[in-house]
């Protein structure tokens, strides 16, 4: 069977309830926008394979429930994630304020070298905007992470966001591989999270 991808990256979408995590994922994986919204209960993931510098990158993107009550369950999935999208809703001040809490949460529960990115979603609804683009940018600068305003509905910056995160993860990985094997030219490296997958689930439930 032909190999369908060179690398597998695990990404995670987090943020308050109703900011549009599932819609962003749906836009990116199916290139569609579903107006019949449904809240996420539990956890799910979608797959899309993209191409970066001639390599096939399989993105496995996990979508989580936003309410705090479920956070103990969702944080179990932080382990093994190589990239995390922090999503807020530009028409909802509170969801923006909470980004700081989410970042703290990542620091506690995700691996330290996880790539992060902040997305201000629903930028198509400008007339209801409560969070200016500048504030989003400033927050991102404070934490030294990248930022984009997106709209899953109008398909603005969604591709860019996921490609950027994937590219950042890949360059980090390449740096790591060069560090450990300076001669290069080794066989293809499959990046998976075998150890961490076990551990984050080991303690996930029961």
């Amino acid at each position: 069977m032909a190999k369908t991808y060179d690398y597998l990256l695990k990404l995670l979408l987090i943020g308050d309830s109703g900011v549009g995590k599932t819609c962003l994922l749906f836009r990116f994986s199916e290139d569609a926008f579903n107006t019949t919204f449904i809240s996420t209960i539990g956890i799910d993931f979608k797959i899309r394979t993209i191409e970066l510098d001639g390599k096939k990158i399989k993105l496995q993107i996990w979508d989580t429930a936003g309410q705090e009550r479920f956070r103990t369950i969702t944080t179990a999935y932080y382990r093994g994630a190589m990239g995390i999208m922090l999503v807020y809703d530009i028409t909802n001040e509170k969801s923006f304020d909470n980004i700081r809490n989410w970042i703290r949460n990542i620091e506690e529960h995700a691996s330290s070298d996880v790539e992060r990115m902040v997305l201000g979603n629903k930028c198509d609804i400008n007339d209801k905007r409560q969070v200016s683009k500048e504030r989003g940018e400033k927050l991102a600068i404070d934490y030294g992470i990248k930022f984009l305003e997106t709209s899953a509905k109008s398909s603005i910056n969604v591709e860019e966001a996921f490609y950027t995160l994937a590219r950042d993860i890949m360059s980090r990985l390449n740096r790591k591989m060069n560090d450990s094997a300076p001669s290069g030219g080794g066989g293809p490296v499959k990046i998976t999270e075998s150890r961490s997958k076990k551990s984050f689930f080991r303690c996930a439930l029961l």
Binding site: R71, N101, L205
Partner: protein
Amino acid sequence: MASHSVYKVIFEHEGVFIHPSSDDEVIEQDLLISGALRILDKDGEIIVEYRPLEDTVDPSNMLCAGKDSSSVVEWTQCPGDRSHQLLETQQSYETEWDMVNAVSFRKKSCTNGEGSLNHNHEKSRWALTFSVSDLKSVTVKEEGWTFLICKLKEASTPLPALHFHQGGSREFLESLKKFALLTESASDKTCLLVSTPNKALSQSFENLLDDNTFGLIHKFRKDPYVTTLGSFSKVTNYLFDALRGTEEQHQRPPEEVADLLGEVIPGLEINQQEEPGFEVITRIDLGTRPQVTRREPLSAEEWNKHQDPEGRMVNVPHLKLLIFKGGLCHAGRKEAWKFLLGYFPWDSTLEERKALQRSKTDEYFRMKLQWKSVSEEQERRNSRLRDYRSLIEKDVNRTDRTNRFYEGIDNPGLVLLHDILMTYCMYDFDLGYVQGMSDLLSPILYVMENEVDAFWCFVSFMDQMHQNFEEQMQGMKTQLIQLSTLLRLLDLAFWNYLESQDSGYLYFCFRWLLIRFKRELSFQDVLRLWEVMWTGLPCQNLHLLVCCAILDSEKQKIMDENYGFNEILKHINELSMKLDIEEILQKAEGICLQIKSCKDLPQSVSAILGFNTDVSDPKGYGSSGAPRLAQRQEACSNGHLRETNSHNSCKVAFIS
């Protein structure tokens, strides 16, 4: 009322004495305190309780004494310090769970207990209450009679000795063994070390992402006997706690490991072979699964036949059976659901129900007015109300929007959904609104087509589901453990497969359990499943057998295709809207009958499905204890409890 019914007396023995020591100046010398010793099942938590005779008045008060007002504290030398300590451990326990800005709340049932306890303060000086999971050891001594000294994990001071002047100590220990593993200490033969496997399990859940746990498990795995267990890595979790009590013993006799294993996995028998470290594992033979048939839905006409002239429902067990077997036709639901959910008492007359509805209507609108009359200013200062409202608004907009009752922009169904959920926040502000609740309300409102009735039916349903949504999600944890127990009994090979794919915790069933298959079935099928479930037939926790039935249909594919952790979750999530409810119910009932007819059923399984509960004895007093004990002993002869009588001094006994 409801909060009292969850307590069950598992063991009770009067004539147990405490001998106050001479330096206890309050009590005259030579006075013996006589009292009753009980083991209670408090909503799944097993509690040992001692009450002096004159103090045992109202069982509801004593049952509420629980952890919060822990009279154990009175036994310490410096009570102040200790209670502080206890409180601290409890808090840190909680903070592990609540990652950010958690709001904790106490269980309702505990509040009224405190007052009554203080009231009886002097008398309850000798009262004791502790959870079996907090018990560290029990020392058995003889002095012409038997007396037991219980020691708690958190405390250095032992509790006062319990003197069994009128016998009963053995029975007490036997009862205790049903819920805890008692292991003779290597250093002191009279000392039984106590460990509770379920606690170990939930601990690992609570120690979410706690690296220390991995370290310990890793270290533990170096134990040669345990390493041979291979794919039973979950067992290490159970064993870990059991073995920690006897840390000083480095070498574990193989037969003991086998004993432990046999006990922690229901339905397992381990035959030791000649070769050391090699074990053959066999299963309990469940027998064939009976084929069952389902019936047509109960018509409104048939329903009416079960009503007497005043409107009382008659022959209710038969009626429930008909509903269990076929469900209800849609026209009958509006009425029948109110009974099934407990909003209407089955034996109420039409007049009584009208009166009930009137008073419930008043009560509803009184609560509705409470949130309706909160001004914007007030709400600005009430972040919890604001958060509830914002979540409800978001979720109402995302609940069953393709259903004609909730579709479109200005559908009145949406307003009702919103208002009922807001009013529920006023009804139970501690819980407030948690995602998933709108899914539970939507079908009820759809059937009731009436705000007030829908609210009270929802309240009844939430009474059953409350624990799933609480801060600690205890209900979810319990259900996943229970489901895992059932799966291991039904198909150990499949469970082992899941375990080998890191899926033994059954997390992929989370959505099924949280909202009772609401997202898995078509709207009409949800109505069918729920009404069948609410009959309480053919056993309790039917929804867990529904899980087993669905998994039974999927297991071959999952194993044949060699699905891993991610694929299993994906596969299960994608079953949504592809399931056939009648087929599932048929299978679930078949599984129930199959399990019921098994004679070597582990106690844990009987407890989950409620096979031991004597329905004619609602309080669980008296008769229910006896058959349980009998069954337990029967289980012993089948290898679930083995005694090693040779050179090694360890006795292992555990019936989960």
